[in-house]
């Protein structure tokens, strides 16, 4: 299997606060990796280092063969192939749903306007929102906005999708619709790295679960390894609180 993401001894600190203390992680093509852990453990920071929304303080991050910790790497080119979905959706407020999805492929000259339009409509059908194409983001519910955000990321035809707590800002009844889209995506063989609090989703969909605390990987393995067989006291403590 091809290696998609390779993280070597990744360190990140904000001023004097050490958030990541040496993370090693390899993600293979088609794998679904869920990162869990208490808040403040560094899981979102780790994810944001994978497309350089945060600059690493030390170590190496190699995505699709590009060393993105190297300043000479054209990060914009690498990012085209890494989709990201945020906790707060971050849809472009001044654009319609359709424009949100079409913007990047057209602006980066990856597709013509017609192609991008066609792709956007297909993606909206896939996430079940084709009737919302002309709406502005504020007219949609949280769950709908997040599904548009996923469609927007997919429009770039990424190899890897990063999810940063995609359901944490949603009302409970909307969590399901977003998870359903993510499940469908996983079943299509997309390489996915998800920071999540949805343990049910992690159990069901993840090939591998990673438990992070205090900026290091404390436990790693199949969902069963982590959720039922772990011997790590921190992991046991955390799982007791959330399960």
């Amino acid at each position: 299997m091809n290696v998609k993401v390779e993280v070597k001894n990744l360190k990140k600190s904000f001023h004097k606060l050490n958030v990541l203390n040496g993370i090693d992680l390899t993600v293979y093509e088609g794998e679904v990796v869920c990162i869990i852990g208490p808040s403040g453990s560094g899981k979102s920071t780790l994810l944001r280092c994978l497309n350089r929304l945060e600059d690493a303080t030390g170590g190496q991050v190699i995505v699709d063969g590009y060393d993105i910790t190297d300043k000479k790497t054209n990060i914009n080119k690498v990012r085209e192939k890494i989709g990201m979905v945020f906790q707060n959706f971050n849809l472009f407020a001044h654009l319609t749903v359709l424009q949100n999805i079409m913007l990047a492929p057209v602006d980066l000259k990856i597709m013509s306007k017609e192609e991008a339009h066609k792709t956007a409509i297909e993606l909206l059908k896939r996430v079940g929102l084709e009737d919302k194409a002309e709406c502005h983001p504020h007219q949609l519910s949280g769950g709908q906005q997040q599904r548009v955000a996923i469609a927007r990321a997919l429009a770039m035809k990424p190899d890897i999708m990063l999810f940063d707590e995609p359901t944490s800002a949603l009302d409970p009844e909307m969590v399901g619709e977003v998870l359903a889209v993510m499940k469908e995506l996983a079943s299509q063989g997309m390489t996915m790295i998800c920071v999540t609090h949805e343990m049910g989703f992690a159990k069901e969909v993840a090939d591998r679960v990673i438990f992070i605390d205090e900026g290091v990987i404390m436990e790693e393995g199949t969902p069963e390894d982590v959720f039922t067989n772990t011997k790590n006291p921190r992991a046991i403590d955390f799982l007791n609180k959330v399960l």
Binding site: K77, G83, M84, F92, A93, L108, H136
Partner: protein
């Protein structure tokens, strides 16, 4: 006091003056917008020199009265330039444009900065995560949203600039206040003339306000078609 006669007599002069007022306002605001945007972007850059230039410029303009700035540009600057080029002359109109543009530019820079800061960080992150460069993100995502936030303050600055042209009458700009002074000098109709001048300003600024209302409505995507 004969109001009707004053209106009839002064109208040609005042119309000529208001034309100059409007012309100098429009030119200065266009130049001021360019300066403002430039200074705003310089002020937000990581380059310390660019940041310092923008900071000092805004500091000086905001910290000094416009009448002093006008005197420096109209009387002071030519004196220095004449050391090198004795035939140098500056017209009140040119000096007025320089003063007003520099003035509006400083305030607009701050207004633009406020607008840009008001756009949530997540918008930048989303755009960058899709592969857009810094400048494309600024152009396609941040500025359109910042502009919307900034419209009310921008229009406010436009109004201030239109009114501030009257200060330039002291350096001899042939604006409406100057023309009124000329007319009053021979007719002694102070009350009627200056009331008329006030009405002229009111009309021009009311048009500006209506224009801004229209613009705000047009650009307000959050209210448009709310379901």
């Amino acid at each position: 006091m004969d109001f009707t006669r004053t209106i009839l007599e002064s109208t040609p002069l005042l119309l000529e003056g208001i034309k100059i007022t409007i012309l100098i306002s429009v030119i200065s605001l266009i130049i001021g917008m360019v300066i403002g945007l430039l200074m705003c972007i310089m002020g937000m850059s990581k380059n310390i020199l660019l940041k310092a230039i923008s900071g000092v410029y805004i500091w000086i303009i905001r910290g000094t009265p416009m009448i002093v700035q006008a005197f420096i540009v109209y009387f002071g600057m030519p004196q220095v330039i004449q050391l090198f080029n004795p035939s140098f002359r500056i017209e009140a109109f040119t000096a007025g444009i320089i003063t007003l543009s520099l003035n509006a530019g400083a305030y607009l820079a701050e207004i633009f900065r406020g607008g840009i800061m008001a756009v949530p960080k997540g918008q930048t992150e989303a755009a960058r995560s899709l592969g857009l460069s810094k400048s494309r993100t600024m152009l396609k995502i941040i500025l359109p949203q910042a502009f919307k936030v900034a419209i009310p303050s921008m229009v406010n600055q436009f109004i201030i600039t239109v009114k501030d042209t009257s200060i330039l009458s002291v350096i001899g700009l042939a604006d409406i206040v100057n023309k009124a002074k000329v007319y009053v000098g021979k007719s002694y109709q102070f009350f009627a003339t200056y009331i008329l001048v006030a009405v002229y300003y009111l009309i021009v600024i009311s048009i500006l306000m209506l224009l801004s209302k229209y613009l705000e409505k047009k650009i307000n995507y959050e209210r448009k078609g709310r379901s």
